[in-house]
């Protein structure tokens, strides 16, 4: 298995990474090197094995903790927007979105 340049372009788009062309070339060879060591893993027989999403499941069943429906967060707009790149009237500004 080896990633093509179109694969790299598709992934860069999905991940919104505007990689320069030489960077894409380098990226492609590095990713292909990496997926070389992944081949071993693909060969392992895992029939009947349940994927382990949360490591502590090994200790016993895990269940999502639920909180009571209480609205206790105060308005902290100023503090929360302190690091915003572009603001106007409390709104985050982005280049126009066309639908």
């Amino acid at each position: 298995m080896s990633l093509s340049t179109t694969d790299i372009d598709r992934l860069a788009h999905l991940a919104r990474l505007g990689l320069a062309s030489e960077e894409r070339t380098r990226m492609r060879s590095q990713l292909n090197d990496f997926f070389g060591i992944v081949e071993k893993m693909r060969a392992v027989d895992t029939t009947g094995i349940i994927p382990l999403a949360h490591p502590v499941e090994i200790m016993g069943d895990v269940a999502l903790r639920l909180r009571d429906d209480i609205a206790s967060e105060p308005n902290q707009r100023e503090a929360n927007q302190r690091n915003a790149p572009a603001l106007e009237n409390g709104l985050f500004l982005v280049p126009r979105v066309i639908e």
Partner: protein
């Protein structure tokens, strides 16, 4: 996330349009009526100043993590129980990855492979396509209902070349309710949507406010020749009024059929309905739609719902419209149709039961509510809560009809009088307007005898076997009594005298 299932029902010829069968499935986003957001403690109230209800978690600030709101899960369970679904004992939250400015984390926390509510059905009555005859019972199967978080809002006004992002709505709990492609006409689709709206508002998990976006419907519409595979569907997004829903679907159906007739294939697309033009238009296809890279959210362990919890929720739920309708049939001897009509809303149902119990005449009460009362309410564009006449007054009116004091005609006059002057009493109005039926047999007999004497010709005809002649006599007698005679009584008396 509609899973197209081959609907096996044979096409109903009366529903075919230009020889095409219409296939509609729905995805509805119902905002759950929790105080706080699904994964944060920020309030959910509508209409606050921009971003004043978006806390660090809602803004996806570095280091923040989701913590699940129990109230949202409870509402999902209530819905599942209301539509006879399976409540999954273990369901999984997954991340749906895509970039959009109103999606703060760059992914939406939703449910993918294992949703919390599975299966179920929404049942309702649908006026027959032919326009006449009894309404038919319909059942639309649900695929699933899953919990997810809402996104923020993009505001395109007043920013030169830019868009403003308000994340107050981000993180509001949603229940996405997905049907099988079971609907075969725009009328059926709207009837389904109205019934679903009734259910979620009835059990109080959603305020149902369509203008504010609390109840948003997406319709997946396709057409096919009867018996053919499902056609390519186009999804009409954000139908936020029942009126537009019908228009949009009808337009879309015509458009698709014309495309096919002109030999063009339908491309899968997401379309928007423009109420001004009455047309649907394909949106700029959202990029990545092909590849959301769903995977289980590592920040959220599985949602586990114990049977005891489901039972606790069940015990705390109000009587469901379906159940109440069944009870109305059993206890009050109403027809399925009437019982359904009288359980359109909790208010109507409550009004009916109060009046029915006060006079012990459920069927009559039902007819009057569905007939005269709702006709007047429709004219006033008001609902039952705004009805000037109390259940007690209606009960009294029905009692007076029942005991023969007044005729139906007279009762309508009483109703009119009450409508404009609700403080009045039924009996007082009957007195004042002199609407009492003549029950004094002596007086009536005089009139009958007079009429018989004055109309020998009709009498002869009747005796000769012309039943019609009787009607003429009855008419004369009613006239003679200024309409106050009780028609049944008149008939009985006449037949007895002519025997």
């Amino acid at each position: 996330m509609n899973t197209p299932v081959q609907a096996t029902k044979p096409a109903d010829p009366s529903l075919l349009i230009m020889g095409y069968e219409v296939v509609i499935g729905f995805e509805t986003h119902a905002q759950l009526s929790t105080r706080s957001k699904i994964f944060s403690r920020a309030p959910t109230a509508f209409g606050a100043e921009p971003n004043t209800q978006a806390c660090a978690v809602d803004l996806a600030l570095p280091g923040t993590l989701p913590v699940m709101n129990k109230g949202a899960v409870e509402r999902a369970i209530e819905f599942g129980l209301a539509v006879g679904s399976h409540i999954a004992p273990r369901s999984i939250f997954a991340r749906k990855n895509y970039f959009y400015p109103d999606l703060p984390k760059g992914y939406q926390i939703s449910q993918f492979e294992i949703p919390v509510v599975q299966g179920g059905a929404v049942e309702f009555y649908l006026a027959p396509s032919s326009g006449s005859g009894p309404s038919e019972k319909r059942s639309v199967r649900l695929v699933r209902a899953h919990l997810e978080e809402d996104a923020g809002k993009s505001l395109h006004e007043d920013f030169i070349g830019q868009t403003g992002i308000d994340l107050n709505r981000a993180g509001t709990p949603l229940l996405e309710i997905v049907t099988e492609p079971d609907m075969r006409s725009s009328a059926e689709a709207v009837a389904y949507a109205k019934e679903l709206h009734k259910i979620v508002t009835w059990i109080g998990i959603c305020d149902g406010n369509m203008q504010e976006g609390s109840f948003r419907c997406d319709a997946n519409v396709s057409v096919r020749k009867p018996g053919a595979e499902l056609g390519t569907r186009r999804e009409i997004k954000n139908l936020n009024s029942f009126k537009f829903m019908q228009q949009a679907i009808d337009y879309e159906i015509r458009w698709q059929i014309e495309e096919l007739e002109d030999g063009r294939a339908i491309q899968q697309a997401t379309v928007l309905f423009n109420p001004d033009t009455g047309e649907t238009r394909a949106m700029r296809t959202k990029e990545d739609a092909a590849d959301y890279r769903y995977f289980p959210d590592p920040d959220l362990p599985p949602l586990v719902i114990a049977p005891e919890w489901v039972e606790r929720v069940r015990a705390g739920m109000t009587e469901l419209p379906r159940v109440m309708a069944q009870r109305f049939c059993a206890d009050y001897g109403l027809s399925d149709y009437d019982a359904t009509a009288l359980t359109q809303s909790r208010e109507v149902a409550g009004y009916f039961e109060a009046a029915a119990q006060a006079c012990g005449q459920p069927k009559l009460v039902g007819n009057w509510i569905m007939g005269e009362v709702s006709r007047r309410l429709n004219l006033a564009e008001a609902d039952i809560s705004a009805c000037p006449i109390t259940p007690a007054q209606l009960a009294q009116l029905v009692t007076r009809i029942q005991d023969g004091t007044i005729s139906n005609n007279a009762a309508r006059q009483v109703l009119d009088a009450l409508w404009s002057a609700p403080e009045g009493s039924v009996d007082a109005i009957i007195e004042a307007k002199g609407l009492k039926q003549m029950n004094d047999t002596g007086a009536l007999e005089k009139i009958v005898d007079a009429v018989l004497a004055a109309n020998p010709k009709n009498v002869a005809e009747f005796r000769a076997g012309n039943a019609k002649a009787l009607n003429a006599l009855v008419g004369q007698i009613m006239k003679g009594s200024q309409g106050k005679a009780n028609p049944q009584q008149v008939n009985a008396l006449l037949l007895q005298k002519l025997a």
